[in-house]
């Protein structure tokens, strides 16, 4: 085998060493995402209703069974992967970018701006659970965009606080003085010099936030807010299938719900492992 391949192989082995759980989970999530993009091309259209086939239990033909309208639960779950995962990742990324920037500026400038930002963060964090997102989406309307906006808003404060405390520490260090003395503008000092040193914890937090974001979006969809039927989204599917439980048709809601848990679990484990190996 060529040397290049050997070099890549040993680099992979070295990075994975001791971090097996992290490697397995990241790979699984990536595979899941790939499946979400590729598999739907081979599966039945998730919106195909087939009333004669309603409520078939899971079997080889319908891995996850069919729902009340005869739709194949498995293909609906798979087609929802893209939406749920990408929405969760985007929310987390967006919240991280915005929150980190605000936290950076607030921590660096200090003074009145800082106090205002802190009070604002406190207010946002005064909303328990996902009530803030709930009421924002309720008012704005039901669309993917508004849901993303609302949930992002509820996570921004975490990043503001995290970055700000990092900045407060860095601000005292000598390299910051040096950078200032060399004539760099405040913006440069903050974003070019300080930012790389405080962004680490935010990235780790972002994986955890991705996990929570997926749960929030699905929960909101379950309540009928944000993403709504007939869009195939795991939370929506659970809502539609919830009443089936009483009559014993568990597959219409349990499978989509399990997907939510698995996705959230994946990101959570990655976040935990990253935190532990710090």
């Amino acid at each position: 085998m060529s040397n290049k391949v050997k070099a890549i192989y040993s680099w992979i082995k070295e990075t994975i060493r001791g971090r097996h759980l992290l490697a397995i989970t990241s790979t699984s999530l990536t595979l899941l995402l790939l499946v979400g993009f590729l598999l739907p091309l081979f599966l039945a259209d998730p919106r195909d209703t087939n009333p004669e086939n309603s409520y078939l239990s899971p079997a080889l033909g319908n891995l996850f069974g069919t729902d009340k309208f005869g739709r194949d639960v498995f293909s609906r779950c798979i087609s929802a992967i893209r939406l749920d995962l990408l929405v969760g990742i985007s929310i987390s990324a967006l919240a991280m970018v915005i929150g980190t920037a605000i936290g950076l500026i607030s921590g660096y400038r200090g003074g009145l701006i800082d106090r205002l930002v802190m009070q604002f963060t406190d207010v946002l964090l005064a909303f328990p659970g996902f009530l803030l997102s709930l009421i924002v989406v309720a008012v704005l309307g039901n669309s993917v965009f508004f849901v993303m906006l609302a949930v992002t808003l509820s996570f921004i404060p975490y990043f503001i606080r995290l970055t700000r405390s990092g900045v407060l520490v860095q601000r005292q260090l000598s390299y910051v003085q040096a950078a200032r003395m060399s004539g760099n503008s405040s913006w440069r000092v903050a974003f070019v010099h300080i930012l790389p040193n405080v962004v680490g914890p935010s990235i780790i937090q972002a994986t955890l936030v991705a996990s929570w974001a997926i749960l929030s979006v699905a929960s909101l969809a379950f309540l009928g807010v944000g993403i709504r039927p007939p869009t195939a989204e795991w939370g929506v599917m659970v809502a539609e299938g919830a009443s089936d439980i009483i009559i014993g048709k568990w597959w219409t809601s349990i499978f989509p719900g399990a997907m939510v848990v698995l996705a959230a679990l994946g990101f959570h484990i990655i976040g935990d492992e990253l935190q532990a190996s710090q």
Partner: protein, 341 residues
């Protein structure tokens, strides 16, 4: 201690005011004609205009703001669009049901979570530790709505161990005299023990559902706090002085770990306050959450607004109470600076 309390009180009031203002603006300022929002997408132009006039929605925002505050300070949170009844009493009437559910969920989570967290810390690195941490990860990632359905399917439909999602007591049962609103307490006061048993039976599944999500952060913080205190100098000294192991773990390690634990309990409880809306919906629990859910379906913004404000204020008050408890527990705050020696 007084100075600390004063500072916390001011901060709490500011945050409460801020929260209410934010809710006000969210409901009014965000795009979308508030009158149409309330009237619903199928309303005629006349009904929209009527609603606009009735709720004063076309007046300048400052006038609405002043009006809102003057009513809020009198406890008036508006009128429900759907039922045409005042929001505040409708919500408060359902508060005990929600509180009872939250109380038992927290109780289960604490009773299970604290010992597990302590155990995991004391046996750090061992099998128990790994198992407990796995439980914590699962708890944080599990969707409440999914878990509720799983429990209902397994324990009601399949095993028939617990009742179905039909509320607090079997249909047709008359509750005893309403003193606290807590069925379990009222039942005990009225000596109707079969009623108490029924209530607990119906409480089981919904509170387990909520408790599962709560256990995770509790385990995490208890474990982390215990690990920290176990590594401290004073624990080392206590062992060096030959004090018995159990005493050191409880009096030195755990007692000092309580400080960060109590602060986190507030956050944990708050997280649950939001989850109630889902659980109450699934289990048809007649609490505030379910009322808010119905309001949500009907775009009944005043009820929603009232719900968020009440829950938000409860959460803020709870955190303030925790600040007080924290001040009582930690003598460094209670007594303050060194006295000259």
């Amino acid at each position: 201690m007084m100075r600390y309390l004063l500072r916390r009180a001011v901060s709490t009031i500011l945050t409460a005011i801020g929260m209410v203002v934010v809710v006000f603006f969210i409901v009014r300022i965000l795009p979308g004609d508030p009158a149409i929002l309330r009237a619903g997408p199928y309303a005629s132009k006349e009904s929209v205009a009527e609603i606009s006039r009735q709720y004063g929605l076309s007046r300048p925002i400052t006038a609405q703001f002043v009006d809102f505050w003057s009513r809020l300070l009198r406890g008036d949170l508006g009128t429900s669009m759907r039922t045409n009844v005042s929001v505040t009493p409708e919500l408060l009437k359902r508060l005990p049901a929600s509180l009872e559910l939250s109380f038992y969920s927290l109780l289960i989570a604490v009773v299970v979570g604290i010992p597990l967290g302590v155990w995991a810390a004391v046996r750090q690195g061992g099998k128990m530790d790994r198992l407990v941490r796995l439980l914590a990860v699962l708890g944080s990632s599990t969707a409440t709505f999914w878990l509720a359905l799983v429990l209902i399917y397994l324990f009601f439909f399949r095993l028939q161990w617990f009742p179905g999602p039909l509320g607090r007591v079997p249909v047709g049962t008359t509750p005893p005299r309403n003193i606290t609103g807590f069925f379990t307490i009222d039942g005990i006061i009225a000596r109707d023990f079969s009623f108490v048993a029924e209530s607990l039976w119906y409480l089981a599944l919904p509170s387990f559902t909520l408790a599962f999500g709560l256990v995770a952060p509790i385990i995490k913080i208890v474990r982390a706090a215990m690990l920290e205190t176990l590594r401290s100098d004073y624990v080392r000294t206590a062992f060096a002085m030959g004090l018995p192991r159990r005493s050191v773990l409880f009096v030195d390690a755990f007692r000092n770990a309580l400080v960060p634990i109590t602060t986190t309990l507030g956050i944990v409880f708050g997280y649950m306050l939001g989850g109630n809306i889902i659980v109450e919906n699934i289990f048809s629990w007649p609490g505030m959450g379910r009322h808010a859910y119905l309001a949500l379906q009907n775009n009944d913004l005043d009820v929603l607004q009232g719900f968020v404000i009440i829950i938000g204020l409860m959460y803020i008050t709870l955190n303030f109470l925790i600040d007080i408890i924290y001040g009582l527990i930690d003598p460094r705050i209670k007594i303050g600076a060194k006295s000259p020696t």
